[in-house]
């Protein structure tokens, strides 16, 4: 009798709280880095957009995204400073950031290879993300100026943080 009441209680609790208690939780690394990735992507999109437009990134101009990010050092420390990426919820952290532009044909085939511009330069800045675990990723849908055809109909700006 007592055993059956115990079993019914346990099964009942599991059945009712299943969604919230036994959900698949992301790694704490990803949870901490996700807001940082979101912040970085929002900073890039808002700061490098053509004046008065949304999601239309200045690419190949003097203060465009390419000139800025290529001018920073390999770890993109200036970007971290400017976008405030060195703070997690309550404390200072030192994330590594990679920024990549994925062109339309890569999206069509479902890959995330970086786009290549007219000068055979890959549109990826920051340390390489290969072989890293628990990478937090934010993708924004954008178009680049002076990127004829590559962003037709759209490119992705992918920020990875680990």
């Amino acid at each position: 009798m007592g055993v059956s009441v115990l079993l019914v209680t346990i099964i009942g609790v599991l059945a009712f709280v299943q969604g919230s208690a036994v959900g698949v939780y992301e790694s704490p690394d990803v949870q901490r880095n996700q807001p940082i990735a979101d912040r970085a992507a929002t900073y890039l999109v808002e700061n490098y957009s053509v004046n008065g437009t949304r999601n239309h990134i200045r690419y190949n101009t003097s203060s465009g995204i390419d000139a800025s990010l290529s001018g920073y050092n390999a770890e993109l420390d200036t970007l971290k400073d400017k976008a405030g990426l060195d703070v997690a919820t309550e404390r200072r952290v030192n994330p590594r950031v990679n920024v990549t532009v994925v062109n339309a044909s890569s999206l069509k085939t479902g890959t995330r290879d970086p786009a290549v511009d007219d000068h055979d330069q890959r549109l990826a800045w920051g340390p390489d993300v290969a072989d890293r675990d628990n990478v937090a990723t934010t993708s924004r849908v954008v178009k680049l100026t002076n990127a004829t055809g590559q962003c037709d109909p759209a490119c992705w700006l992918v920020v990875r943080v680990w």
Partner: protein, 190 residues
């Protein structure tokens, strides 16, 4: 005397517990916990609103809403054969990444007091039926005026003005003003 000792012990114990709690809380980073599904929904929401913003910015969304093909909107969310820019955007951003979406147009009826909402993406019947609770929603509003030329073909060629064509899916909501109709485009992604 003994009572005082017990009180003192209790106070000291309380101080120890509070100190340990404060110290412990400052040692761990207490952010809100998110499940993988919640994070995925947040990412989809960003992508959906980005897509609509970009489409509105480039005019592709305006072209799509003004697209005319004998009575019905030519948008059909067709996965492969779609040639309009807006559909290609949706195709690259969602279909090709393995995400489902429904696209709705909500517009005024002819008396401009009630709104009608229709689904314009008819890729599969499952899409319409199978909407999970954690779907992400993004909306964008497009205003059409009486002299907006309808878009024909792949929605980039221009035809006669909206007020001159018959059988466009939305009717002239305010015949006395230059506004033809206000279409709210709603994208539901999961």
């Amino acid at each position: 005397m003994r009572g005082q000792a017990y009180t003192l012990e209790g106070v000291l114990a309380a101080i120890v517990v509070v100190t340990a709690t404060v110290y412990g809380l400052s040692a761990v980073d207490t952010g809100p916990f998110q499940t993988g599904a919640q994070q995925r929904t947040a990412a989809l929401e960003t992508r959906a609103s980005d897509t609509l913003s970009l489409a509105a910015e480039t005019g592709a969304l305006h072209n799509a809403t003004a697209c005319y093909s004998v009575g019905t909107p030519t948008l059909n969310g067709n996965q492969t054969g779609s040639s309009t820019e807006f559909e290609m955007m949706l195709n690259h951003t969602f279909d090709r990444q393995g995400d489902h979406y429904n696209l709705y147009f909500s517009y005024w009826e002819s008396d401009s007091s009630t709104r009608r909402t229709t689904i314009v993406s008819q890729e599969t019947v499952e899409n319409v039926a199978d909407q999970p609770a954690d779907a992400a929603v993004a909306t964008e509003t497009v205003t059409l005026t009486d002299d907006t030329p309808v878009r024909i073909g792949d929605c980039s060629g221009t035809g006669p003005p909206l007020s001159a064509v018959d059988g466009y899916f939305a009717s002239d909501a305010e015949p006395d003003s230059v506004v033809y109709n206000v279409v709210e485009v709603r994208l539901v992604v999961w």
